[in-house]
Amino acid sequence: MSTIRKSKLFESALEAIHDIQDGATLMVGGFGLCGIPEHLIEALRVKGVKDLTCISNNAGVDDFGLGKLLQTGQIRKMISSYVGENKIFEQQFLSGKLQVDLIPQGTLAERIRAGGAGIPAFYTPTGVGTLVAEGKETKIFDGREYVLERALKADFALIKGWRADPAGNLQYNMTAMNFNPMMATAAKVTVAEVEEIVGEGEMNPLAIHTPAIYVKRLLLGRGYEKRIEQRTVQPRA
């Protein structure tokens, strides 16, 4: 990446992920199916790259989100906090085909944040005295025990924004923010797909969630499915 591209904007999802190779480590944004990079995941399925390590809070459902790549057997390892909604995941895990690292959600978020912020490791109270802390260094600060957790980094981060400007500044919508801002900072190449691209200078600098420096590639996604995992509404009065 020695040359500076004139534009970060890519025409297609496949082009935006053209250099993702077999065995790559990917961060994939989203919480459940909320705020996931739908088009980039689909492009990975079409491209057929395999032996992927995916760092993502969840693993999608059987036929949507990262579940699509489990279906096709493209994922070798998942690093997640909760994977309960996916039957294919369960089968592949129990058969030993899929490796899984389960990490407390806050520790996962902070390990990614640290990875992007140049902090190699940090002490946290989360998981002390549990399986999560086994084999890890611990230390007492002010009478309380903490466990040392390492930062996480990735080759690529695939994230989902709401709006971008041509420079790559991003805004997220509602809780579709979740893990996306930290992941944007923690990979060698961050690819962001968004629902809208506004004109240069049209974003309030104070209202930017992810500054452009973190975003290498932009994709304007069209026709979002935005599937809802648990549709809950008020009973009719």
């Binding site: 919480f31 459940g32 199916l33 909320c34 705020g35 809070n57 997640s80 906090s81 909760y82 994977v83 309960g84 909604e85 369960e90 895990f93 129990l94 389960l102 407390p104 959600q105 806050g106 520790t107 996962l108 978020a109 902070e110 990614i112 944040r113 946290t124 109270p125 989360t126 998981g127 002390v128 005295g129 549990t130 399986l131 999560v132 709401w162 919508n173 509602m174 809780t175 579709a176 923010m177 979740n178 893990f179 996306n180 801002p181 930290m182 935005k226 599937r227 809802i228 995992e229 648990q230 549709r231 809950t232 509404v233 008020q234 009719r236």
Partner: protein, 222 residues
């Protein structure tokens, strides 16, 4: 006459009595989620959802649900007035930093030291701990809502948890379908028991050693 254990709704109502005006509260999945139905508006309670909401509102009216606005249970929700939204890292900084006053969550086992196990049964499919380990490690006040015994009658309030732990020495209070108990350095102190159950009968279905509250034991009657 068979003993009338608390229903899920009654457990939620009793757990809601732990809320104090102005608190910031995180409610876990299952019975704790029902606690939200028991909150009166004048209590001024703010619900935190660990996927990044402070000020979670009720479910939306039909037709107003939005894929981009969910809670940590992946359910469509609304925002309360004055709500804020933030990243997962900020959400857990808030939790780990002890800023969320109260966490109410379910458990498979608790111990008399306040250990909690609620995320993993060895040999069965493990779904993950989600945010539970961060919540119990960070919250200054952890209240557990649970069935007192397993369906086969075996105790779930134990001397030592048998299942892999979610957190050590973090539970402050246990509200079960039979009794309310405080976790103290000396052990579990029973403050409330349901009608028709004696302290001795409660002890008989509890592995942990129980003590009577010096102020006496009230009826657990939400």
């Amino acid at each position: 006459m068979s003993l009338k254990l608390l229903s899920r709704e009654q457990l939620a109502r009793r757990a809601a009595a732990e809320l104090r005006a102005g608190m910031y509260v995180n409610l876990g999945i299952g019975i704790p989620t029902l606690v939200a139905n028991e909150i009166r508006p004048e209590m001024n309670i703010t619900l935190q959802s660990e996927n990044g909401i402070l000020g979670m509102g009720p479910f939306p009216a039909a037709g107003f649900e939005r894929a981009d606005l969910i809670n940590a249970g992946k359910q469509t929700v609304t925002l309360a007035q004055g709500a804020s939204i933030f990243s997962s890292a900020d959400s857990f900084a808030m939790i780990r930093g002890g800023h969320v006053d109260l966490t109410i969550l379910g458990a498979m086992e608790v111990s008399e030291q306040g250990d909690i196990a609620n995320w993993m049964i060895p040999g069965k499919m493990v779904k993950g701990m989600g945010g539970a380990m961060d919540l119990v490690a960070g919250s200054p006040n952890v209240v557990v809502v649970m069935q007192h015994c397993a369906p086969d009658g075996s105790p779930k309030v134990l001397k030592q948890c048998k299942l892999p732990l979610t957190g050590k020495r973090c539970v402050k209070k246990i509200i079960s379908d039979r009794a309310a108990m405080m976790v103290t350095p000396e052990g579990l102190i029973v403050t409330e028991i349901i009608v028709g159950l004696s302290f001795e009968e409660l002890q008989a279905c509890t592995e942990a050693r129980l003590m009577k509250s010096p102020e006496g034991i009230r009826v657990l009657n939400p």
